[in-house]
Each structure stands twice: as C-alpha cells, then as structure tokens.
Amino acid sequence: MNVYDIAGLKVALDCQPRTMHQAEKYRVYDFDGEPDIIVNPTLEEIAPLGDQTWTPEQKAHIYEGKLFYQALISGFDGMMIHSSAVVVDDRAYLFSAVSGTGKSTHTGFWLEKFGDKAYILNDDKPAVRVVDDVVYAYGTPWSGKVDISVNKRVKVQGICFLERDSENWIKPMEPDAIVSNMYRASIRKMSPENVMKLMQIIDKIAAHVPIYRMGCTPTIEAADMAYKVMSEAEVK
C-alpha cells in the first residue's frame, strides 16, 4: 500500500479514487517501516453507510476519513474538528459550525483581509493533535467539497464556534458548553472506548487553547473582530 504523511503520522491508504487523489500531496516514497495507521475499507463495508443521497464516491471518501480520525482518537491524542482552519503568522484559527452556517464564508474574509499572508489549512476537517504538550492543527486529504488543504502542521491559536447574527460579537465560551460543542464538532457514533479517549483529548485541548463563541455577519468586519480578539490571547 502507498504510505502518506498525514497529521505527523505514517498512514497507509488503500482507498477509493477520490481519497487517493486528494492524498497525493501527502505521499511519502522513502518509508520502509510499519505505518502508524492503515485505512483500507472494503466496498462491502462502505455500501450500506451514510446518507443514501450521497454518491458511492462521497460515501467512500467520508467513511475513509472517519476511519482515519477514529484512529487518531484511539491511539494518537488527536481528533477531528469540523471547522474551517485559516492560518496567519504561523498560527491556526479554527471556525466551527454546523454545515451551511458560514465557516468557509468567514475564513474567506480572512483571506481577503490578509491576502498572501493567510491560507486555508483545511476547509472542513482539520486534524487536531496534542504533541509534546502543544496543540497543532493539520491539513489532511479530507477537506470538504472543494478539497482545500495544505500538508502542514500549525500551532492552534484558538477555536471559535460561530453562529449567524445581525451583529458581530465574540466571547469566551461558557465552560459548561465546551465539551458538548467540541463533541458535536467531532465524530460521534463511536465505540465507548473511543468516546472516553475523546473526552481526554477534549480536556487536554481545552486546557491549552482558548475556545470562543461568536455571532457574526458575513462581512470582513467579522474577520477583523475575530482576528483582533483571538490573536491577542495567550496560548499555552
């Protein structure tokens, strides 16, 4: 099987064409040892899953991603946060919300604001791992409908849960809402052991990285506000 460098790990992939194509920029050619993670589901496994409105290709891509992110939770102090991750000054800012709320619209304004100085690390499902006591976000081959990702590791400066509003505001998230928001942005429907592990990972991430709640308009002013507040925070 081909081996890929994803989220700081060696991952062997034998997947359907879309995943293999998206994974190309993660490919490594000179690796001889044992991979950390293997993703090679059979078509029989994939067929009955997911929303029946998805094409077989979509189902496969999403399921293969789920297997990868579950392996991160299970063995590598990592998780997936359903969010658009934008990078400025080598720091990653993650904006999470239910599909359709406007995460990519918001990070799109960051790109407009910063031009060349900003890029999207992963537009849909950045991997987030705690490595040597630092929280990093990573591009992966699973990055949404337009498949935008960069194969890099970037320290996370903040995680923000956004909702639409007629005014722009941002504040630290109430402590008792953090777990449920992080959990909802991750994979659910996992084994109980993985849920337990996920709890520990969420705990670690929240101890290092500030978590925010934001109401925003689809404007560049929202990006100005979010950047101003989030970039000034101290991150352990």
Partner: protein
C-alpha cells in the same frame, strides 16, 4: 430505579459529563453535560431512588422549596431515562 453501571461521571474541560461504556456503538449523542445540581444528584444517589428521594436530597442540600426541587429532580430523571442511564 437505579443508576446504570454503564455510565460514569467524568470531569472534562471544566464541566461534568456522563459518558457511557456500554457495549454497543452509541446511538444517542454519546455524552450528557450535567449542571451542578445534576452532578450533585448523580454523585449522591445510592442504590434505589425515585422522584421523592431526589426531591428530598435537593431540599436538604440546597435552600430551595419543594416544588422547585421536584422540578429539577423530575427533569434529571427524564434525561437519565432518555439516554438509558437508569435501570
């Protein structure tokens, strides 16, 4: 009813959640966040309990009248039943 022994209380990111370690893949949302009252009840329930015993527990522990305590107790029981945390 009694607490299900398949659920445990964990502190995560500054709040308390009930997480299950049952055998099947989870069909409900997987975790429930507990507020202070719910956490108190879960930790202090010993063996069989019902709406009356929980109401009494709350009245003793908090300065609250009986109807208010009963509302909290019943809501707590409903949530537990909904996710299967009682048997």
């Amino acid at each position: 009813m009694k607490k299900s022994d398949k659920f445990i209380l964990k502190e995560v990111a500054g709040s308390y959640v009930l997480v299950t370690f049952g055998e099947k893949e989870l069909t409900f949302n997987g975790i429930i966040t507990l507020n202070d009252t719910a956490k108190y009840l879960w930790e202090n329930i010993d063996g069989e309990f019902d709406s009356d015993s929980l109401t009494e527990m709350l009245c003793k522990a908090y300065e609250v009248d009986e109807p208010t305590a009963r509302k909290s107790a019943d809501k707590f029981i409903d949530i537990l039943k909904e996710v299967g945390a009682v048997e």
